[in-house]
Symmetry: C2
Subunit: 418 residues, 2 copies
Amino acid sequence: MFFKVTPIEEVLKILDGFPLLGSETVPLKDAYGRVLAQDFFATKELPEFFRSTMDGFAVNSRDTFGATGSIPSILEIVGEVPMGSMPQFELKTGECARIWTGGMLPSGADSVVMIEHSSMIDEKTIEVYRSVVPLENVIKPGDDFKKGEKVLEAGTVLMPQDIGALAAFGIAGVNVFKNPKIAIISTGDEIVPITEVPPPGKIRDVNSYSLCSFARKYNAEPILLGICRDEESEFRDKLLEARELGDSIWISGGSSVGMRDITIKVLESFKDVEILIHGISISPGKPTIIARTSDGRGIFGLPGHITSAMVVAEILLSYFLLRITGQSPDYDGIHHRIQAEITRNVDSSGGRDDYIRVKIIKEGDRLFAEPIFGKSGLISTLVQGDGLVRIERNREGLYKGEKVNVILLRDIFHKKGV
Amino acid sequence: MFFKVTPIEEVLKILDGFPLLGSETVPLKDAYGRVLAQDFFATKELPEFFRSTMDGFAVNSRDTFGATGSIPSILEIVGEVPMGSMPQFELKTGECARIWTGGMLPSGADSVVMIEHSSMIDEKTIEVYRSVVPLENVIKPGDDFKKGEKVLEAGTVLMPQDIGALAAFGIAGVNVFKNPKIAIISTGDEIVPITEVPPPGKIRDVNSYSLCSFARKYNAEPILLGICRDEESEFRDKLLEARELGDSIWISGGSSVGMRDITIKVLESFKDVEILIHGISISPGKPTIIARTSDGRGIFGLPGHITSAMVVAEILLSYFLLRITGQSPDYDGIHHRIQAEITRNVDSSGGRDDYIRVKIIKEGDRLFAEPIFGKSGLISTLVQGDGLVRIERNREGLYKGEKVNVILLRDIFHKKGV
């Protein structure tokens, strides 16, 4: 019944001890949002040739020196660079060639005169009204990336621009951390599948779905193993199945003493499972269990109430998931946080970190965090809320008007203009 | 060659004119991150019965009035509520029943005494040391949601907590906006597939991959149609194919005059396509084309340079994608933005909104935005950058030390502790 609760800082250290997942190669077109598993270094210079950045005329810049509107340079057009081709001619003094944006400079040319700064005298001759300096309107080999330069660091979450850079180097498959597979079990004799109408005394299986969605939020792959009754051998069988399938196992329920006892008993019955945490000094979420298999899988026993399970998920599982996929998170940076003024006094019992649910209200330029009160286990406090505010365990509460950091649990930026 | 450029505010209004996509029903377990297509109202009270929120004893609160450590109330245990069952007995005065968290109160009980506030005298009798008030440690029907109450609003991006609420109501399939299908075409004779080694004068097809990833970033489904040469009939065929497959068509390239002319010519040749925009007063990204089919599909002609294409995508396509999926975005809220001090003077030519790439640097508590300069078309400016700063068209630049809003293009929070 009574257990030693662990403060969150210690829990994070324990989570740091879990091993990284392995890596896999995915097609570049599917690599968005994945985490790069190793540094990527430029395999060659980019661009590989002198490219024009404008539509105009490739010239030798010396031929334009001193050119003005009243004293233009006169140049002979000796060719055109077709897009995507290597020019088969060379510019001599006084010569130029038509070129388009992205085109390759012919040899003898070192710059490009914009079409706007020239005019045609006849089919073969242009006047240039402005001088260009060497490399003007041109990018040269290595301007983008030098061979051997570090382009992307391991641990980078690949954004469209990064995928673009990899495409430029011809990387058709990228080595990324595997997405964790999460085996999810709901426990409790009171739980029925969501497709059933719960008879009196029973409720639907909420946690399988909220945890499944939470896993997706952090790019993990949920595997729903359904509902397990408060029964030792059934739970043992489910756990064995879960260990086969999941890189991590999330068990919700067990907030009643009976189920918690069964969970602990079954976990202890596995010789290769070590129970690391049995109780965390946060509220809601105190009766959380963390265990580890000898091959490094994390087993999390989460409270049965959705609110408690979600708080533990957002506060701890987010960190765990980023950690094992090589993102070495800064804990306070996992969630977007915004500052707001709390709208009323909030008591806190002390000795544990309290996470209260708040709604963000914008009035003019000021942001307010309005606490949503409600008994433990009410889904509505989370659904109506925008985020969480942590009251640290050395505080006895918050004062109305105090500035607090709100951990956002939904994107309110484009809904509320915050 | 010359075209009238449209300011961004007008472009947004034009984007507002595109119709919403239709909706579809998806399994609840796959609904994370999807956009709810219609309001959801509670179909019943939640919870449906009086539930205990603690392990302890169900009691009639009157039997505990005045109970203290020195003068406890003595109650007889007449039964236990098995989890998930409707109690088959009724409490009379002086009686109590064991109950677990989540259990259904027997009739005659109105509250729960925590196990910590009681002790066993014998197998059948407890002492209660603290009085409880009616409904203490109990949630009653409707505490979470009242029947008919609005639970979730159309346009909500479904988060784990929302999915949990839907599960509680037994919603196994959710009506959400369809994810837009995006047909993506790269154009230009200089482009080769990324799996090929580009011969001199050619480059790899970067934009198919960066735009594909960009689509995924906003939950759209990319369809890569590959590379199209600067040739009218080939481009026409590709466009016809794209119209069959995509809710929207994104064409990159055409930054050279030749390809831009072909794009416009072919678009104009379709009787049911209207060209809405031909040039936007932003830099990079000016030569952007926006057209619309009579059945409401958006056709976007994007610049060929990855940097320009990405800026247009982040500044406009993001808005377009949120708009057609029912999210009616607040424009300034689409991206996370942070305030930082610009580290040097930046010139801007005026008359157009300039988007410069910046890197965020944290020094102590101060955030700095360091401009990354580089010629148009360099991928590296985006890869090394963390975001964009807009210099409005009525400004001639930024002064060193000025506070700017940085539109973040990657999550720097947990990498840089920002």
